[in-house]
C-alpha cells in the first residue's frame, strides 16, 4: 500500500473540462486513501506541467502517480518517462482515461460524466497503490542470422547482413540457389536475365567468409527465442562430388533409369533422378534427387564422383534471429480452367517463359505447331471473385506484356491478344505497355461478371470474350496458343510455417505485424519475413523487402542485447499442476515445462512472453500472475468501480 500518491486531473484545454467538473474530480481524489496531493492542470502533457509533476515527485517523495487525461495510447509513455526522470519507477504510474471514456462519450450528461471520471480516478488510485516497481528485462543476443530460402531475397539479405558484420546461415531446401528467378529468362529492364541476377548474387554469397550456405537443407525444428534461437537443420547429401568431371556426369545421367517430369521446366521436359543443373542454377554441380533415386548404382558404375550414400545429416545451429524468404509457387490452374489440361495449346505464363528459354530459332514452336497468334488471359488465380485468391499478384501484368514483347522479338508478325481485367503495368513498367500497344498488340478487357471461355470448334481453339471496351460485344478469337497469366500463391509445402508457427494473412501468405509501420516483422519476435512468402512482389520489390528485413534484423542484434517490456506472465510453481492449458492458450509459444524442486512445472520464457494475459483465465489453479496487472491490482480496481454510485 502506498500513501504518497499524486493525482493530476487534466482539462485537455476544454476537451475534458467543458463536460467534467475537473475541480470536483480533484477534490474527490484528494479524499481518496493514500493520496498525498491532487492537482488539476490545463494540459498535463505540456512541458511546464511535466516539470511540475516531476518536481512534486522529488519534493514530496511521491511513491505513485495517476494522471487522469486522454487515452493511454497517446500519453502513457509520456508520463512514464516523467516518472522515470523524477526517480520514480515508471510502473508506479497509472493512466486514467477520462477523455475518450468519459467527457467525449458522455458530453450530454455533465453530472454523470463527472461521477464516472471520479470512479475512473478512484480505480486508478487503487491500482497504483498496489502497483509493483519493475525493471525492463534484458537478454543477451547473438549476432547470427539464419536465412531460410536462397532465392534473390535470401541471397541479397545474406550478403547485406554479412557486410554489416553478422554471421549468416543461408539455408536452401533445394540443391540449387536462385529459386523462381533462375527459371525466368530476360527480365525488365532489358539486358538482365534471371540467370544473370542469380549468378551475380551467388558469386557475392560465395565471396563472403561469414555466410555459410547449406543446400539440400531444411529447417526442421526451432527452440528458444529472439536472440537465442536453436534450430535443427536436416541436410540431404547431393550425392555428387564438387570436382566431378562434367562429361562422366553426363554419361552417368544418361544411364540413370529413373525419369520424372522436370519441375524446373514446369513439366515441359523430363529429368532423371540424377539431375544436371539448368542454366541459372548454382552451384553448377549435378545432384541426386533422393526422392526419386532407387540407388540402382548404374551411375556410380560410370562416374567416381557419385556417392550413393545419401544419408541425411542433422546439425544444430544457434541464431539470434530467423529470416524467412521461402518465396512462392505459381498458381496451378484447375483442370479445365480456361481449357487448361483439356487442350495442349493452353499453357501458363511460366511455361511459356520456359518454352522461350528452351526454344532456339526464329519460330515459336509449341507441341510441334508453329505459333502465329496467341492470346494471354490475365488474372488467372488472382483477383478471384469466387475463389480464395482475392489479391492481385502484382508481377503478372508486367510479365505478360513483357513476354509478348519478347515473343515479337522472335516472331515479329505474331498476332497477340491481351484478354485482361485492366492492365496494371504500374510505375516504370508502363513503358512496356506503351511498347506492346505500339507493336499492335490487341487489348481486350473483360469484367469479373463475364469470364472468357476457352473451347474448341474441332479445328481451332476458340476464346469467347465479352469486350468491355467494345460495349460488351461478344468477340470470338481463334488463337494458336492460349497463355494463362497465372499469379503467385503461397508455397504448397509449408513445413517451415508449421515449424515456426508463422502467422498467415487472409491471403494465406505469411503476415507482417503492420503493413506500413512494421512491414517485415512477424508477431514472433526475432522471426522476420521478406520477399514473396509475405505476399506477391516483383524482383525489385522482393529485394527491397529483403534489405528492409536485413536492416531490421541487424538493428535488433547489433548490440547483442535485447531489452523487453517487464509486463509478462509468471507461474507460481507451488500452485501449478501442469495441466497444459496455458501453453495451449499462448499464441507466442512462451510456455515451457521444467523441473523445479523435483516437480515438473510450467515456466514462462521471458523473451517470448508478450504480456497479453491469454493464459490467466484458463489456469484452473490461478497459478499465473501478470506483472503490471496483478490480481490484487485488478480486483481493487473492480471494487473501486463497483463502489461507485454511478
Amino acid at each position: 500500500m502506498k500513501n504518497k500518491i499524486g493525482v493530476y486531473v487534466c482539462h485537455c484545454g476544454g476537451n475534458i473540462s467543458d463536460v467534467i467538473d475537473v475541480n470536483k474530480v480533484r477534490e474527490e481524489a484528494e479524499k481518496m486513501g493514500g493520496v498525498a496531493i491532487a492537482k488539476h492542470t490545463i494540459f498535463a502533457c505540456a512541458d511546464s506541467s511535466q516539470k511540475e509533476i516531476a518536481e512534486d515527485i522529488k519534493n514530496l517523495e511521491l511513491d505513485g502517480i495517476v494522471v487522469a487525461s486522454c487515452s493511454p495510447k497517446l500519453h502513457l509513455l509520456t508520463f512514464r518517462s516523467v516518472a522515470e526522470r523524477a526517480g520514480l519507477n515508471p510502473y508506479n504510474y497509472v493512466h486514467a482515461n477520462i477523455r475518450e471514456q468519459s467527457s467525449w462519450a458522455h458530453s450530454d450528461d455533465k453530472k454523470g460524466a463527472t461521477e464516472k471520471a471520479i470512479s475512473l480516478v478512484r480505480s486508478a488510485v487503487e491500482r497504483v497503490s498496489h502497483s509493483v516497481a519493475m525493471d525492463p528485462v534484458s537478454i543477451s543476443a547473438q549476432n547470427v542470422v539464419a536465412v531460410v530460402g536462397a532465392g534473390v531475397a535470401g541471397m541479397k539479405a545474406a550478403i547485406e547482413l554479412a557486410d554489416m558484420g553478422s554471421q549468416v546461415y543461408l539455408i536452401e531446401k533445394s540443391h540449387y540457389v536462385g529459386g523462381r528467378t533462375s527459371q525466368w529468362g530476360k527480365l525488365f529492364l532489358p539486358g538482365e536475365t534471371g540467370k544473370s541476377v542469380v549468378e551475380n548474387l551467388y558469386q557475392e554469397v560465395k565471396k563472403r567468409q561469414n555466410i555459410n550456405l547449406f543446400t539440400g537443407a531444411e529447417l526442421v525444428s526451432k527452440k528458444g527465442s529472439v536472440g537465442n534461437f536453436e534450430i535443427e537443420v536436416k541436410i540431404t547429401s547431393r550425392g555428387v562430388k564438387k570436382d566431378a568431371d562434367a562429361s562422366t556426369i553426363e554419361k552417368a545421367i544418361e544411364v540413370c533409369p529413373e525419369e520424372v517430369s522436370d519441375e524446373f521446366n514446369f513439366g515441359l521436359t523430363n529429368r532423371k533422378a540424377l539431375m544436371n543443373f539448368h542454366p541459372g542454377q548454382f552451384p553448377e554441380i549435378a545432384a541426386i534427387d533422393a526422392a526419386t533415386c532407387t540407388k540402382c548404382g548404374k551411375c556410380a558404375e560410370v562416374s567416381d564422383a557419385i556417392d550413393l550414400n545419401l544419408e541425411e545429416e542433422r546439425i544444430t545451429l544457434q541464431a539470434g534471429s530467423l529470416m524467412i524468404t521461402t518465396g512462392f509457387d505459381p498458381y496451378e490452374p484447375e483442370k479445365s480452367e480456361f481449357g487448361y489440361g483439356d487442350y495442349d495449346n493452353v499453357i501458363t505464363l511460366p511455361q511459356l517463359e520456359r518454352h522461350l528459354e528452351l526454344s532456339n530459332g526464329k519460330d515459336l514452336v509449341i507441341n510441334g505447331k508453329k505459333i502465329r497468334s496467341m492470346a494471354y488471359i490475365y488474372c488467372v488465380g488472382s483477383r478471384q471473385p469466387n475463389g480464395e485468391n482475392k489479391y492481385c499478384s502484382r508481377y503478372c501484368c508486367t510479365s505478360a506484356v513483357h513476354s509478348a514483347i519478347k515473343v515479337r522479338e522472335k516472331v515479329p508478325d505474331m498476332t497477340v491478344y491481351h484478354i485482361n481485367r485492366g492492365i496494371r503495368t504500374y510505375g516504370k513498367q508502363e513503358v512496356l505497355y506503351e511498347q506492346s500497344s505500339k507493336n499492335g498488340d490487341i487489348y481486350i478487357q473483360f469484367t469479373e461478371d463475364t469470364f472468357p471461355e476457352v473451347s474448341s470448334n474441332g479445328k481451332h481453339t476458340v476464346v469467347k470474350v465479352n469486350d468491355l471496351l467494345t460495349a460488351g460485344k461478344e468477340l470470338e478469337i481463334e488463337p494458336d496458343l492460349v497463355v494463362l497469366v497465372t499469379g503467385m500463391t503461397p508455397r504448397k509445402d509449408d513445413a517451415i510455417g508449421d515449424t515456426l508457427k508463422l502467422p498467415r494473412g487472409r491471403d494465406k501468405f505469411y503476415n507482417e505485424i503492420h503493413p506500413k509501420l512494421r512491414p517485415v516483422e512477424t508477431t514472433i519476435d526475432g522471426v522476420l519475413i521478406a520477399g514473396v512468402c509475405q505476399g506477391p512482389k516483383n524482383i525489385t520489390e522482393t529485394v527491397k523487402s529483403s534489405l528492409a528485413a536485413s536492416a531490421k534484423t541487424y538493428s535488433l542484434l547489433k548490440r547483442e542485447e535485447i531489452t523487453l517490456e517487464p509486463i509478462m506472465a509468471k507461474v507460481d510453481a507451488e500452485k501449478c499442476e501442469v495441466c497444459d492449458n496455458c501453453s495451449a492458450a499462448c499464441p507466442f509459444g512462451a510456455f515451457e515445462f521444467v523441473e523445479e524442486n523435483g516437480k515438473k512445472v510450467a515456466k514462462v520464457n521471458e523473451s517470448n512472453c508478450k504480456g497479453c494475459g491469454m493464459c490467466l483465465p484458463v489456469c484452473p489453479t490461478d497459478a499465473i500472475e501478470l506483472s503490471g496487472y496483478t490480481n490484487s491490482e485488478i480486483e481493487e480496481m473492480i471494487d473501486a468501480l463497483t463502489e461507485s454510485d454511478y
Partner: protein, 372 residues
Amino acid sequence: MSKVDPKLAKDIAKYGAVDFSACYNCGNCTAVCSLTEENASFPRMMIRYSMLGMKEEILSSKELWMCYHCGDCSATCPRQADPGELMAGLRRYAIANYEPSGITKLIFKSNPFSILLTLVLATILGFFLLTMKPDFTVSRWIFSWMPYAVIHLMGLIVFSFTGLTALLGIFSMSRRLNRKHSTDSNKTKKSVFQSIGEVLTEIGTMGRYQKCSTDEGEYWSTKPNLVRPWFVHWSIMWGFIGLLFATILDFLFKDPATTIWLPSRILGTVSGLFLIYGTSLAMYYRMTKPTKTYEATKLADWMFLFFLWIAGLTGFWMEVAVSFNLSETLSQVIFMIHTIISMELVILFAFSKFAHAAYRPIALYFLARNRE
C-alpha cells in the same frame, strides 16, 4: 458474335490511319467531341472496331459520316493515336468498300495509280472533246481509225458504268445501315419526312459542323464565321451545287452565255465566287496547317480540292473571255481544261472523296430517323 480479324487493321492503315494502335481506350476523344451522342458514339468505338477488325461494324456505322474532322480528338489524344485521322481513313475505307468495282481501293491505296488514272482519263476526255469539232485536223485523224458512233458509245458506257457504280455504292451503304438499325426496333422512330427535314436543314445550315472546335480556347473560337471550316465547306458545297444548276440551265436554254445578266449567269457567277472562295481558303488551310485537321492531307484531298478550284477558275475565265473577246485559241484550251476537270469530277464521283456528298446525307438520315 463477332470474329476478331487483326489483319484488317493493316488494311485500314493503307487508307491513311496509321497510329491508331497506340490507343489505350481512355475515351478522351469521345469526351471532347461536340458531335458524338449516346446512340452514335465515336471516335473511340470506331478505333475499337478497327483494332479488332470488325469490318461489318465499320461499314454499317453512320458515325463515320457524322464527323467533320475538326481535329479536337487528335489534339486531345494522350497517346497521339490520331483518332481524327482514323475517322478520315475509315471514310476512305468505306467509300472504297461500298462500291463494288474495286477501283476506289486502288485509287486510295496507290497514289501513282490515282495520278495515272486521272491523266489517262484526261487524255481520253481530251480526244473526245476534240471530236466535237469534226473538221479539225486531229478529229479527222481520230475518225480515220475510230468511227464517231464508237466514241459516242464508249462515252455512254463509261457514264453508265460510273453512274451504276455510284448507285450500287449508295445501295450497299443504305442496306448495311438499315440492317444495323432495324435490330433495335424498340426505339421510337422519327418519321421519314421529319428525318429528311433534319438532313436538309444540316445541308442548308451546316448546323452540326458549326459546333466543331469552337469551344472557348479552341482555335476557331476567336475567328469570324466567314473563315471557319464550316463556312468554307458550306461555300464549296453550295458553290458547286449552284454551278451545277447554272450549267444545267445554260444547257437547257442553249444559252451561249453571252450576257452576264441572265438569271442563270448571275447564279453561276455568285456560285463560282463561293466555290473559289471556299476552295482557296481550304487549300490555304491545308498548306499552312493551322490545326491538327490539316496535318495529314492526302493526295485524295488535294486532288478533290484542286479539281474544284481549277473548275471554278477556268469557268470564270470563260465568262470573262466571252465578255471581253479574249483570244479564241487560249479560251478554247481553257474551256477544254474546264470541261475535262468537271467531267473527271463527275465520272470519279463514286471513286473519290466526292462520294461523301452522297454518303453523308444518308448517314445523317439514319441518325435523325433513329433518334428518340
